[in-house]
Symmetry: C2
Subunit: 430 residues, 2 copies
């Protein structure tokens, strides 16, 4: 029988919004937002989209009108009472009242700020300029929207049956991956795939699949909305934008050198336990660790992101030992371009030597590789990064020069200050 | 939104019937029924179920009460006016009015006759005794019911999510097979999978998949109900039960020897064109072809069933040539235990040398191999065969002695009459 009400409800939508909730974002955005809210809310920060997959020209696939509709729809959203209740009342990382009443009051009133959109050379130039506390909120939904609009541009030409087979194949693939992961002892893995997901419904399915297939070995999802609806843990810590803005605001080389540690100082005033995870690679992991104040070694763990995971893991172990810490009590979170093979290899190398967590992103929530002709549903490497803070350009060096960003002169200054020599480029998969 | 009406409709079913229509059967049953109706309707014929997969004990998996409910439900069915209209008005094998008004009048009044069910040694002994024209109708639904009840006995312990993944994997597998078949030039393939299907809904899906994926290279389905609903061709010709009953009714060895050809004589009075396909293996293909009257070589084609397909194909070509026929104008239908690898190999060997058709059964509609622990959803080799006609035992020799059936003394007599020597046993896959 036809459920007329559902059909009528669906066909009265002017658009089919991709992001329907302020909470359809990564948990780390809220954690960082609170830290920003407390100290730096009025710093003027510009975020911009950068598509590192040059052969995919989004402006040729995605209609500008549709993109504007989706972005405009975002601006109509506000936190719902139920969502606010959940954030205020839920336990995150074992702690109640993670978010202060002041921050929650702000979040309830929050609206997404304006965006700037133009087309240039077959690419969209999409930027967000304004108070950091507001522009930071755009990162995840802007990426989700671009990625899903790209998926939709391919899906709209497929028949009902083709679509069914497409998702059957995708489900079979994800399930095969999960089955393979089940064999790993003491596995602890989270979904970090919001930004690059194939689509919202698909990420939601992937989270359920992980939950069903891995049980307590599935730690949770970075996506707040899905965490709330599916009653799983919300997961995530912090990102490069913190040291990047702190660094840009430094008035001289000495302040610049200290900026990444100042981030950690602020962070540990706000968060404890498993949220104290260092992200050391913004200006080179090796220098960061060597020059880190003693208290940094007391933190719970390290996130190994742009560095080769095997090199990065060994480096973390050696560093903890050099600081008199027991690596077996420390946590290493791997989160860069993971897929089952990498996870298995990392696990083989490091299991038993330290606590390990995995943040599995794109190849969990968007592994449609080979499912459409010419790889049209293959994931692309697209990011939304801080470009400037209070009109000063931001810089990222990372451990992989392919991921470096910023004006050339500034990059050179940062390389000098952080004593970063020649780096070996790695291809960026996703 | 919940479609309350659908849910209420579903939960008022006392049982969820597996077979809901007289037409949920193979097309060849109706063709044979018409031939029987015209000449032999009152011959008393017993059909019986035989499960050749000894390690699967159906009576231990399927509840007797449930089985009786399903069989009893069958007995409440009758042809609906819409179904009758379709059979009367549709074109089958290019011909209108395939079924005579007299036969259609009978079919409209038809009810499934009684069944006998007992348990013996962990197996069900399920037999149908009565006029041939009635008992013949039980073959396909009885098998579909047993196979689907077995599937259900496994499925009922699976969670909602597990089920979704199960069907996603099955869909991905079927689609992969179809994609592989697409590469074959001049492919012509039909679904013959009603009797051993995983379930009705699954067969229905497989037919749509074949239709979508192969276009005009998908000839149709043996299942009348699905052919009607999905508007594809109904496919099928005839089966071993015809020569088996004709042979059992022979009064001496001479009549016995002629019985298989008498079947063809009757058949060609009723059907023409692509329905004139010899099924030569009931008492050995080689003897059948050697002794066939000249007019048999004028028939359109041969079905190669229990014989090794490569040997059987060469034999058919050689035989046609020996009878002055051009094999390139002849049709060979392969239908035994097919899967993609076999189909590809057969195609490689015979494409261009004769017209080829494939009747793809169990490994199309029930390839759940490896999808449940201990192979509990793997297909089994179960048949429903004629046991006796007018109280005389029936015999089948086949080209594969594993498939032979009948009392030992009778088998020996048939072997003598049809000059069948030592045969090489092949394992029966499905």
């Amino acid at each position: 029988m036809v459920d007329i009400a559902t059909r009528v409800y669906n066909h009265t939508w002017k658009i089919d919004p991709i992001v329907r909730s302020v909470l359809d974002t990564d948990f780390y955005k809220l954690l960082m937002a609170q830290t920003i809210f407390r100290r730096m809310r009025d710093v003027q920060v510009t975020f911009g989209i950068r598509n590192r997959t040059k052969e995919v020209r989004l402006a040729e696939m995605i209609d500008e009108g549709e993109l504007r509709e989706q972005l405009d729809h975002m601006r109509s959203l506000r936190l719902t009472p139920g969502e606010s209740t959940w954030l205020r009342g839920n336990t995150f990382y074992g702690k109640r009242q993670m978010f202060s009443p002041e921050f929650m009051d702000w979040l309830e009133e929050f609206r997404f700020p304006e965006y700037l959109l133009e087309k240039r050379d077959g690419e969209y130039v999409l930027t967000f300029h304004g108070p950091w506390i507001e522009t930071t909120m755009w990162e995840i939904p802007a990426l989700s929207i671009l990625n899903e609009l790209r998926s939709r541009s391919v899906l709209k030409d497929m028949g009902k049956f083709e679509l069914q087979v497409l998702y059957a194949r995708a489900m079979a693939r994800v399930w095969e991956k999960i089955t393979s992961l089940r064999e790993l002892p003491d596995l602890s893995i989270s979904d970090f795939g919001t930004r690059r997901r194939h689509g919202f419904l698909w990420q939601d399915w992937c989270v359920q699949a992980m939950s069903e297939g891995l049980g307590s070995h599935f730690l949770g999802t970075s996506n707040c909305l899905i965490a709330m609806r599916r009653e799983v843990e919300a997961a995530g810590t912090n990102a490069h934008e913190l040291p990047m803005v702190y660094a840009a605001l430094a008035n001289d080389d000495e302040e610049l050198l200290k900026a990444p540690y100042k981030v950690l100082e602020h962070w540990q005033q706000d968060y404890e336990g498993n949220l104290r995870v260092i992200l050391p690679d913004t200006y080179g992991t090796t220098h960061f660790l060597e020059h880190a104040p003693e208290w940094v070694a007391n933190w719970t763990g390290i996130r190994i992101d742009s560095k080769d995971p095997f090199v990065g893991g060994e480096e973390a172990i050696a560093w903890w030992k050099s600081r008199g810490q027991n690596p077996k009590e420390k946590l290493a979170i791997f989160s860069d371009g993971l897929d089952v093979d990498t996870i298995r290899a990392i696990h083989k190398k490091f299991h038993g030597r330290m606590r390990i967590g995995y943040g599995w992103g794109t190849l969990l929530t968007n592994d449609f590789r080979g499912f459409a002709p010419e790889g049209k549903l293959d994931p692309i490497s697209i990011v939304c990064k801080v470009i400037s803070a209070d009109d000063r350009p931001t810089v990222k060096l990372s451990d992989n020069p392919t991921k470096a960003m910023g004006p050339r002169a500034e990059i050179e200054r940062y390389q000098r200050v952080f004593e970063v020599g020649k780096q070996v480029a790695k291809p960026v998969i996703v």
